[in-house]
Symmetry: C2
Subunit: 324 residues, 2 copies
Amino acid sequence: MKEISKLMNYRKDVRVVDATLRDGGLVNDFYFTDEFVKALYFTNIRAGVDYMEFGYKASSEMFDETKFGKWKFCKDEDIRAIVGDNDSDLKIAVMADVGRCDYKKDIVDRNESPVDLIRVATYLNTIPSAVDMIEYASKKGYEVSCNIMAISNTQERDLEVALDILGQTPVDVFYIVDSYGALYPEQVARIVDIYKNAAEKYGKKIGMHAHNNQQLAFANTIEAVGDGVDWLDGTYAGMGRGAGNCAMELLLGFLRNPKYNVYPVFQFVDKYMMKLKEEGTVWGYDLQYLITGLLNQHPRTAIQFTKEGRKDYFEFYREVVTQD
Amino acid sequence: MKEISKLMNYRKDVRVVDATLRDGGLVNDFYFTDEFVKALYFTNIRAGVDYMEFGYKASSEMFDETKFGKWKFCKDEDIRAIVGDNDSDLKIAVMADVGRCDYKKDIVDRNESPVDLIRVATYLNTIPSAVDMIEYASKKGYEVSCNIMAISNTQERDLEVALDILGQTPVDVFYIVDSYGALYPEQVARIVDIYKNAAEKYGKKIGMHAHNNQQLAFANTIEAVGDGVDWLDGTYAGMGRGAGNCAMELLLGFLRNPKYNVYPVFQFVDKYMMKLKEEGTVWGYDLQYLITGLLNQHPRTAIQFTKEGRKDYFEFYREVVTQD
């Protein structure tokens, strides 16, 4: 039984992070209009969302700036053009991928930047590089999270070692990232237990970023809340890579904290997200994502299937299970 | 923590019920082609599904037979035309609604019928009539379940009394029916506890029928499995009233019992369910169903919104929250 009394009465430490531009940007190569981004920003403020992630701090040497929208690079001046001095309670986040970010060049002192939180994304095998980035960003004055991707493929003892290393850094939040949408709530509970041991030892918070391959992004997120996870990622209409994420409208509908307000969220989804869908941007639960999730695989084959407009789901299943 | 070791190793008592024709029939007024129904029947056999629900035993005095497909009435001869002597391990179920079924006329002796299981559907305020039907069907030789609808609106003490009454009947299975798709997994766990007290006292099994208004039909079903519920309803591609049900392809992907096989399920979804969608049959999670689920309301207003092809979700939200 989860901490339902605490849920009914809400936990003050819960933080909601809107990852629409960042994870959703993986669907449309980060081509959002300024009108969309501004409306999203003001919606987040009205909805009481705690952090808005604008995108990636990607290396402009590794990625061609003419082939992506600006939120793949999240230059400070582009964020400023949306938020001005950000005179609000909403904090600004960006993601920095280990190995794909020129952080020493692109991440300046926090007091010169509109950004509050750097989310360092890493696989388990690049933890030492993540540690470098965490220490750098923390020294520059930022809040820092470490988002461990593909968590469903990690061995628990490796994860314990990684969290022990990260615990000794100035990172603020350990994130669980179910990149493959492969976890069931029971497994989330087990992983949270592992995170909790390290988080309590080192005085860190825990976060959850879920994917919807098996229609469990929301369920896994609220499982995590019940287990003691405070930082929760959502995206409007669940927009995100492949099967997408935990929908903000579901998450804020669930949370009892009176500072959250689902009303402007419905308004934004109606006006902006449905339009994206009508214009042909495709994301969300579908059979090909269930298949890769079930098999605990990276969704790239399913994404390719979607891009090609294929509908032969059964043939796809055969391809996936018969490949070596 | 759920009984994950038991899940990994499966419980022999788990029974999967395919409710596609019955709950899905609410979407298309039960107009399925014979080809569809036959293919579904053989798919269920290949997939190891335990029961296939063909539809309702609705009163032909209350409902006009020219306005619905035959699976609203489930005459024995129509079932026989599909299954012959049903020389398989798949059992046949029909649903009988309290107050909408001429059961004394339409339910004959089991040895004259292809049907194995009568599912008596009732609200909490019609339990005495449900008891009459249960006793009648049991005397005729059928297995019987009692499906208590709109469970999210019941008071727990009333539910305890109802289960105590039902416990004294020959009913085999107490079903939890989340008609409004309003429950969170934590609440499912609490309700299962109440059911379990009565089920253990009277030697009954427990079943779960979930709706997907908040993308939790699958999550609530596997929560229930972990809590000790044995009878699990699914529908292909989640087809069912409004936001639909727990998808069979998700459920069989999750269950570890080697008798279940998800392969033919993908095949059927690919070939038949996608076609239904392409032909314009509409079901599944959408914002209007989230809204009624969140507010713990019957989905009828959301279904009407869908039927009218409305897309003004935000106006719908205003209508729903401002109505008396």
